[in-house]
Amino acid sequence: MKKKNKICTAIVSIILAILFISPFYLVLVNSFKTQKGIFSDVIGLPGESFTLNNYVEAFKHLDFIKSFTNSLLITVFSVVIIIIFTSMAAWMLVRTKSKVSIFIFLMFSASMLIPFQAVMLPLVAMAGKIHLLNPVGLVFMYLGFGTSLSVILYHGFIKSIPKEIEEAAAIDGCNKFQTFWIIVFPLLKPTTVTVSILNSMWIWNDFLLPQLVINRPEWQTIPLKMFYFFGEYSKRWNLALAGLVIAMIPIVVFYLAMQKYIIKGIVQGSVK
């Protein structure tokens, strides 16, 4: 790329980056202030209201080690299960040109439009009856809710895989299972990365569903614990913001790690 273009791109990117990050400045700066400091002066640096206590308190109140483990287990299991089953389903739906297949795909698409509040009560009523109100049930629900988005994503990109490769594998004696897992799935890496990032995002931060399904102290995830900072009238922003920063670190680390994977994927993909 020409040098001038590179510099232009860099400048534009940096300006945008500053705009994007400015709200985080507010989060970070205020997480180090006392409650009084936050409300006296929301914009400025901590100065005399500087305190590290918020982080200590937030860590304690969030029961961080336990809630982190809960969030981690739920998110990881859900995402793995979603990846396995939705990639399989999407592949079969793309390769099978039938009315059933189109119908199922459209049904998945249409369900993305349903606001959660509309299904909340019937879902909970049914879940209670079939013993789904526990962490395993929650993972199952995430598969159900995550199916639509993930299938749509996989569906779009499976089309870019030439059928000839699959046909060659079949001729070599692979059954559908082997064809998918050995040949197709590795080629879907960028999409799998996308699917895992997007799903882990909303599952990690999800509040409403866990509140309905696993709101017991030993099962609570980080968002559930965070909401204890918000009472009827008193919102403990100093703790909430520190808690937010703590909660964000794992997911940021995960995201950055996955980003490196995408770059590896480019290299492998271009050697296709």
């Binding site: 409300f39 909340m120 050995i182």
Partner: protein, 445 residues
Amino acid sequence: MKRRKLLALTLAMTSMLTFTMTGCGKSSEVSSNDKSEKNGKTEVNIFQFKVEVAKELENAANEYMKEKPDVKINIETVGGGEDYGAALKAKFKSGKEPTIFNVGGPQDVEDWKGKLEDLTNEPWVGKVLPGMLDGVTMDGKVYGLPFSVEGYGLIYNKRIFQAAGIDGSKIDSYAKLEEAVKTIDSKIKSGALKKDFPKLEAVFEFPAKEKWVTGLHTSNAALGQEFKSSIDSYKSKTVDFKYSEGYKKLIDLQANYSPNGKSKEKLNAVDYSTQVDQGIAIERVAIVQQGNWIYGGVKAIDEKVANNLDILPMSIQGGKEDCIPVGIPMHWAINKNQSDKSKAAAKDFLNWLYTSDKGKDFVVNKFFFIPALKGYENYKPQDSLGKAIQRYIEAGKTTPWVFMGYPTAWGENVLGANIQKYLSGKMTWDELVKDSKAQWESKRK
């Protein structure tokens, strides 16, 4: 490559299976409606909304369980402060009905009547202060135990008043209130108060974004003199707005002497936090219309300011000018459909909480509640606002909370919304009264 994938898959499946075992194990422990015993203990499940007292409530439960080892109390608190109603409905729908839950006023009692245990013969009923059970009494039966008494009025900063040469305790009429406001306002504008209160910019802060403040609380000051109780407003098919002028004056006073006095539509973006945390707590304003519940929040910001607060009456010109509205925000209710053992244990716990010495200590000194019962002579509120409320109650200078009897969502979505229109000049006061009346009537047809 193939083997590694298979291995990974197998590992995943095995751990899922283990997860399932533990998950299933736990879920069969959790009782359905009928099973109330676990390890031989009677289970009482509390589902409550007030995050601020969650920790201390758990401590109270632990104390109780020391005395009654055959009872196990589990407390679930709905965080976020909002939408307790939605969470409660979901809880019931899921089949894991709580033993003890919360109801507000007549509308809640009506909605949940199929699930409410009759508490008329409970030992504490006779001890409740007069009028305080009105919100949960239907057809002569009592269905709830009052959480606490709350009151609201024009909370003011005594130090600022002193500096302006005003004695807040002498204000007992609208005329005196208006005069005091004008005095402080002129001193702010002249810069006389700037040295001691550098952040002070206006007399009031008015959170028109919070429709419960304007549509429920401010309105109650006026409508609470028209209706006798929340049952009265609940049954009424019409609303007169008898004291509409006085109501208007209170709103105009707060709006005109707020930082946005000259562009009142901007008040529609002012929220509770701006009014309290960034308002009175940091001495940016001198008076806010709020209640004794703000004490904890203000104390967390500036304890000195919190301890120097007192309350002026919600003067309704032409009506009662020296009273504050006082009432019960929430009640404890017991689920009728639980086992007899659970219900008995629940009733006993609530009774213990509000009538035993240990319980009273929790209620007043740890929850910071003002109890609605007699027998708390040795347990007086310790915080500045609680003391103020107590003072008004003892002097008999209170009006009742009737807003819980308003038609569903009328207070916030009709009246509160109309006040926002009024402040932005999109509606005149007469139109506001006319429309609000009409909507009340249509909801009560």
